[in-house]
Structure formats: structure tokens, C-alpha cells
């Protein structure tokens, strides 16, 4: 199968949109985009406008089988504190749905505090 993009908006409980035609749900802070790449699935964490993702504490997806996937990107802000490009992780296998717990440390633009977002997928 060629690359298929599926966007899932992460809101209060989850989660997964079946196709690109699905209108996005009201924006949460983060959304998870999955793309099938060969035998694997690339998970990309997209932040809402005005939200920065903490690069010092790489976002994590704790899978239901106990594995932990960490999101990363080589492009950081000049202070190396935040991702300048959406971080991603490669999940083995081809998935249209992921189950687990997503953790990310996020900061609002201009805000002086950060917060942890924990979402059940």
C-alpha cells in the first residue's frame, strides 16, 4: 500500500479519524497524524497554533503492550528547548489505530509555565 495519511484529532478521550475526509474535531492541544510507511507507521505529533512542545522531555507514547515510543525531531528552536518541527516516532507494523497513553510536555506561546498533557488513546 502506498503512503496513506490518516489524521486523528486528539481531544478529551481520543481519537482516531478514519480518513482524510473526516472533518477535524474541535482542536485539542495536540493531534496525532499517522502515515503508513512501508512495513511501519510513522506517528507525528502536531501541536495546535500557539502551543510549543517541550523538546527536553520528548513526548512519549506508552503502548498497551508496555513498549514506549519517544517522539523526536532534529529541528529544534535556537534555545533547543522546543521542537521547531513536529516530532515523530516510527511504530513497527502498519496501524490505522494506536492504543496507549500519550504524554507530552507543552507550553503556550508567551506563557511562563508548562503543563503535561496525558491522553488515553
Amino acid at each position: 500500500m502506498s503512503r496513506i495519511g490518516v489524521t486523528a484529532w486528539v481531544a478529551a478521550t481520543v481519537v482516531f479519524a478514519g480518513s482524510c475526509a473526516t472533518p477535524p474535531k474541535p482542536a485539542g492541544v495536540l493531534r496525532l497524524q499517522t502515515t503508513l510507511v512501508g512495513p511501519n507507521t510513522r506517528l507525528t505529533l502536531l501541536a495546535a497554533a500557539g502551543v510549543k512542545v517541550n523538546a527536553r522531555l520528548k513526548p512519549a507514547l506508552e503502548l498497551s503492550d508496555g513498549r514506549v515510543l519517544r517522539f523526536d525531531s532534529p529541528r529544534l528552536t535556537p534555545d533547543s528547548a522546543y521542537f521547531a518541527e513536529s516530532p515523530s516516532a516510527l511504530a513497527p507494523g502498519r496501524h490505522t489505530q494506536v492504543h496507549g497513553t500519550l504524554r507530552a510536555s507543552v507550553c503556550d506561546e508567551g506563557a511562563a509555565v508548562c503543563r503535561t498533557v496525558v491522553l488515553g488513546l
Binding site: N54, A112, V113, T116, V117
Partner: protein, 193 residues
């Protein structure tokens, strides 16, 4: 529509909007500009019971600090806002330790242990990196975080000589900026009592 009905409708709308804005977060919701927050109602500080300490020969207790002004700083080394504030805290420690201020870092991890925040060696390395000489407690189980109802990194609790919480607040500040001066003034006020 009567005035009271309008008010009720507006309030209900605000509640709905507020609810929609909430996230499924186990810990925190950031609010804009909470820096100046302080509780007008004074309440006794609650005794923390952290067992693992750095920069301290033995665990510090609230009871043992009677007669001291205590500034608790809830932080974690992976928090940029927290580490940006450290120079100001180091400055407070240097200026006021001999005058009766005890600054205590409460190091509370954001993520589970796999992220490395729970590791005492990692914390020790960061204390050295940021020239932190004041005591730090490892709050790996978040008990002190929860005891004080903390929701943000970084957060601050200022306790007077009698063990009463006098000021609380959150958010990054820098040497000699407005909020640095605010906290500086609060510390001086309590030291003078």
C-alpha cells in the same frame, strides 16, 4: 429577558466554554498570567516528608525550619521555564540565606521513570550545572506536589517564620524583572517580620 436571566445565560455559557477548553490532563491546566497569584487566606504549611535530598546532610522538615522564611520551588530539570528561573533563585539564596531564608527545590518529575527525571544522579548533575547550592528534595512520587495542590511547573510557595503560607505563584521570571522584584519584595517582607 431579565437582567438576572441574562447573567445566568452568560454564566452557563462561560461554564460550557470553560469545559470545552479543558483537556484530558492528569495534572495541569495552564492559565495566562498566573504569576501574581497569591492567596489572601493564610493557611498553615503542610509538612512534607520527602526522604531523598540533595545539598542537605539530612532531610529538612517544616518543623525544623520554624523561625525561618521558606521558599519552596516546585520544578523539574526538563522544564525550560523552571531552569530559566534558577538564576533568580540562586540569587535569592545567596542574598538571603544568612538573613533567614531557606530555599528548597522540590524536584517533581513530569513523566514516568523512563524519562530519567527520577534519577538522583541526573538531578545532581543538573544542580551542579545550574550552580544550585540550596537543598533539593526528590519528589518522585509527587506526594509533596499533591500535598500543596501544585499544578504548574515552576510553582512557588512562600512560608513565613511561623509556618504559614503567605504567598503562592507560578511562572518563569528572570533576574531583576518585574516578577523577580515582586518575589524579592515578598521575601524581604517576611524576613523583616
Amino acid at each position: 429577558m431579565s437582567r438576572s436571566a441574562l447573567l445566568l445565560a452568560f454564566s452557563a455559557g462561560a461554564v460550557v466554554l470553560g469545559t470545552l477548553a479543558l483537556e484530558s490532563s492528569s495534572r495541569v491546566q495552564a492559565q495566562a498570567s498566573p504569576l501574581l497569584a497569591s492567596r489572601p487566606d493564610r493557611r498553615p504549611a503542610r509538612p512534607w516528608k520527602n526522604e531523598s535530598w540533595l545539598n542537605a546532610d539530612k532531610p529538612l522538615t517544616l518543623e525544623g525550619l520554624e523561625g525561618k522564611v521558606v521558599l519552596l520551588n516546585f520544578w523539574v530539570f526538563t522544564c525550560y521555564n523552571c531552569t530559566n528561573t534558577v538564576p533568580s533563585l540562586v540569587d535569592f539564596d545567596r542574598k538571603y540565606r544568612d538573613k533567614g531564608l531557606t530555599l528548597i527545590g522540590i524536584h517533581t518529575p513530569e513523566f514516568p521513570p523512563y524519562a530519567g527525571e527520577h534519577d538522583k544522579g541526573n538531578v545532581a548533575q543538573k544542580l551542579k550545572q545550574y550552580h544550585i547550592e540550596y537543598p533539593n528534595a526528590q519528589d518522585n512520587d509527587s506526594k509533596t506536589w499533591k500535598l500543596y495542590g501544585i499544578r504548574f511547573w515552576p510553582s512557588f510557595v512562600l512560608i513565613d517564620k511561623k509556618g504559614v503560607i503567605r504567598y503562592e505563584g507560578v511562572g518563569e521570571f528572570h533576574l531583576n524583572d518585574r516578577n523577580y522584584k515582586l518575589w524579592d519584595g515578598r521575601i524581604k517582607e517576611l524576613l523583616a517580620e
